[in-house]
């Protein structure tokens, strides 16, 4: 059975070039970069090279990159680190459609007595900037707003948001886990203070992430320990994975044009084809401001988990915002925040591409998806 992998917002294939770059650091160059001998010391320059490559992808200075273990660690560090460094009680502003890696620490702060404001979105998943404006008027805050949404791919106007926050005297962090490597990012032009990213979303392995911290940003160390990462994150550097992330960043920069042209064409062809061949289907999210690789489609009157299991039987990997796939009893918080009607919410299905997808993948899905939809609708009491 062939595997058609269309779940790249969940995780991506490790690029062969990345694996290749990492291998020497398991087998030969396994020293500790902090050591005072040639064997460890020689490794440090590879860490710094990786840092420079990642910084280049973001338009940042190498010294502004802190390597972490994952996107979740970066998000937690940014939010709690900024709050703890503030030296006074600051409010926290975020959105209703953030990833749990942001929402959970925010809600934890709420339990500790902090004021939390969650900005809503409209039916297209776009942020209500007026609501943000009035939240910012209440006084300086630590703001965490994602660059692009993992479920719908909707991109927020992060440059404008960052300016608004800076003018209000606040601190702005953005969870860019889904954006980095998929769309061009230039932090010289976007004045965010902090940005989170995760390696395994851009063809590096799981277990490596980074936090961009703009020079001068006050941040209390989250993971305390040694002097690594200039004291901003303790723990011996995960050298092979850092090298892998550096290589992945380099590849992402080289493939950026392909991502925004060929990958988005694949996505668009799938989307158009599905809307034509599957009646009563709809796209969730603003199609104008969206990642090039993501589509979120609701097939009305059928349920997402059943769709995924039938797809999986055919070797197709996708994901869903239905209640049953999350283990909770309600559809995803993103889909609910957008006010997607229940008839469509439970049948929302996400297909997310990468540069490894082909036209054949799209053909295969277009051939099979209508059959699955028909089959489940024939079972449904609502059709």
């Amino acid at each position: 059975m062939r595997t058609v992998y269309l779940d790249n917002n969940a995780t991506t294939q490790v690029a062969p070039e990345v694996t290749e770059a990492m291998m020497p650091f398991f087998n030969d160059l396994w020293g500790n970069p902090s050591s005072m001998h040639y064997f460890g010391g020689q490794v440090a320059k590879y860490v710094e090279e990786a840092r420079a490559k990642l910084a280049a992808l973001l338009g940042a200075e190498p010294s502004e990159i802190v390597f972490t273990s994952c996107g979740t660690e970066s998000d937690n560090t940014a939010i709690k680190g900024a709050i703890n460094a503030a030296g006074r009680r600051m409010r926290v502003i975020t959105t209703r459609v953030e990833h749990p890696a942001v929402l959970s620490p925010c809600r934890d702060l709420q339990e500790q007595g902090y004021d939390i404001v969650e900005i809503g979105v409209n039916e297209k998943g776009s942020l209500d900037l007026d609501e943000l404006e009035s939240a910012l008027e209440q006084g300086p805050a630590v703001v965490s707003i994602m660059w692009a949404n993992n479920e719908t791919g909707v991109i927020f106007p992060i440059r404008k948001i960052a300016r608004m926050v800076k003018e209000s005297g606040g601190v702005i962090h953005t969870d860019a886990v889904q954006a980095v490597g998929k769309i061009p990012i230039d932090l010289k032009k976007v004045p965010v203070d902090m940005l989170s990213l995760s390696g395994h979303k851009l063809h590096a392995p799981k277990g490596i992430g980074a936090l961009y911290v703009r020079k001068g940003t006050k941040l209390k160390t989250f993971l305390m320990g040694g002097h690594q990462e200039h004291g901003r994150r303790g723990g011996t550097e995960n050298v092979p994975y850092i090298v892998g992330l550096g290589r992945a960043a380099e590849l992402a920069a080289a493939h950026m044009d392909e991502e925004t042209s060929r990958v988005s064409k694949l996505r668009d062809r799938l989307e158009k084809g599905l809307l034509e061949t599957c009646p009563d289907s709809r796209i969730n999210g603003d199609t104008e401001h969206r990642l090039p690789n993501t589509t979120n489609i609701s097939f009305q009157y059928i349920e997402g988990e059943a769709v995924l299991y039938h797809l999986s039987d055919l070797g197709v990997c996708a994901s869903s915002g239905s209640a049953c796939t999350s283990g909770s009893l309600e559809p995803s918080h993103v889909i609910r925040a957008m006010g997607v009607p229940f008839t469509a919410a439970h049948g929302s299905t996400r297909f997310s591409f990468s540069r490894y997808n082909t036209d054949e993948d799209v053909d295969y899905l277009l051939e099979n998806m209508p059959k699955i939809v028909d089959r489940l609708r024939n079972l449904s009491p609502f059709v």
């Binding site: 009157y301 349920e303 988990e305 059943a306 009893l329 449904s380 609502f382």
Partner: protein, 281 residues
């Protein structure tokens, strides 16, 4: 992915008895699009009106909801109405070789649809299940009666289990205390029933005192000592056990709760259901 059994996946991939019977003898519709799953069950009796000759289903829902509906129709075919009325959600889950705990509500949906269909057969009422009793979970519209039923049938002891079985408490969470109340009430009822069944142990006073001492030493004292407390047996009069708290327990604000929830509960469990514990102050 969910840890579905081969049988669940097989029924999901090849559901039996899909569709709706024309002029059925019984119709049961439960669930809704908003809830994320819904089931319409129809059945027809044989010519002598004795047994269920055919049953069909239509389901909107996940893989286990479809499999549970398919299993339900297979189970009830050939049954008398009385036999079908005794089918529980556990029968459906067992037929499928089990369901993941968080998916047990799919089997409950099957049992509910069957209940409504049988009710429809008896009364001719074709409307959806009339909500009986007080609604406890407003997010998913689950009544006290429905919660009682899943707690009783499946011997549930925790709120989370109730959520897994009938969705109650799975939304805003405001009803968790009420659900716990139902669990406590049913558990107490079941305990009481069990106590009646088991013949009370005949013991001499001396045997009883010894058993109380042993139970205190083994079951109760270690728990109290962890918090820097201790307990001493003062007297036994019939079923009345008089004790005294020592150490931290003596000044503890929640000593009364400890007395009932720990000391009395353990002595009832290991000595006699009729034990009453009092504190000698």
């Amino acid at each position: 992915m969910w840890d579905y059994t081969g049988k669940v996946l097989e029924h999901f991939r090849n559901p039996r008895n899909v569709g709706a019977i024309e002029n059925p003898d019984g119709v049961g519709e439960v669930g809704s699009l908003a809830c994320g799953d819904a089931l319409k069950l129809t059945f027809k009796l044989d010519e002598t009106k004795e047994r269920i000759a055919d049953a069909k289903f239509q389901t909107f829902g996940c893989a286990s909801a479809i499999a549970s509906s398919s299993a339900l129709t297979e189970i009830i075919k050939g049954m008398t109405i009385e036999e079908a009325a005794d089918v529980t959600n556990q029968h459906i889950a067992d037929y499928l070789g089990g369901l993941p705990e968080q998916k047990m509500h799919c089997s409950v949906m099957g049992r509910e649809a069957l209940e409504v269909a049988i009710e429809n057969y008896h009364t001719g009422d074709t409307s959806k299940k009339i909500l009986a009793g007080k609604v406890i979970c407003t997010c998913f519209g689950v009544t006290e009666e429905e919660i009682e039923e899943v707690v009783r049938e499946n011997s549930l002891t925790e709120v989370e289990q109730v959520t897994n079985y009938c969705k109650a408490g799975g939304g805003c969470g405001a009803c968790h205390e009420d659900i716990q109340g139902v669990i406590d009430r049913i558990t107490a009822e079941l305990e009481k029933a069990k106590g009646k069944e088991a013949a009370p142990r005949k013991m001499t006073v001396l045997q009883k005192i010894r058993l109380i001492e042993e139970t205190m030493e083994r079951e109760i004292r270690p728990m109290l000592k962890k918090d820097g407390g201790d307990i001493e047996l003062i007297d036994v009069e019939g079923n009345n056990v008089i004790v005294s708290f020592r150490g931290m327990c003596a000044q503890c604000n929640v000593a009364e709760i400890t007395l009932k929830d720990v000391v009395e509960a353990k002595l009832r469990e290991f000595v006699s259901q009729d034990i009453l514990v009092e504190e000698d102050k």
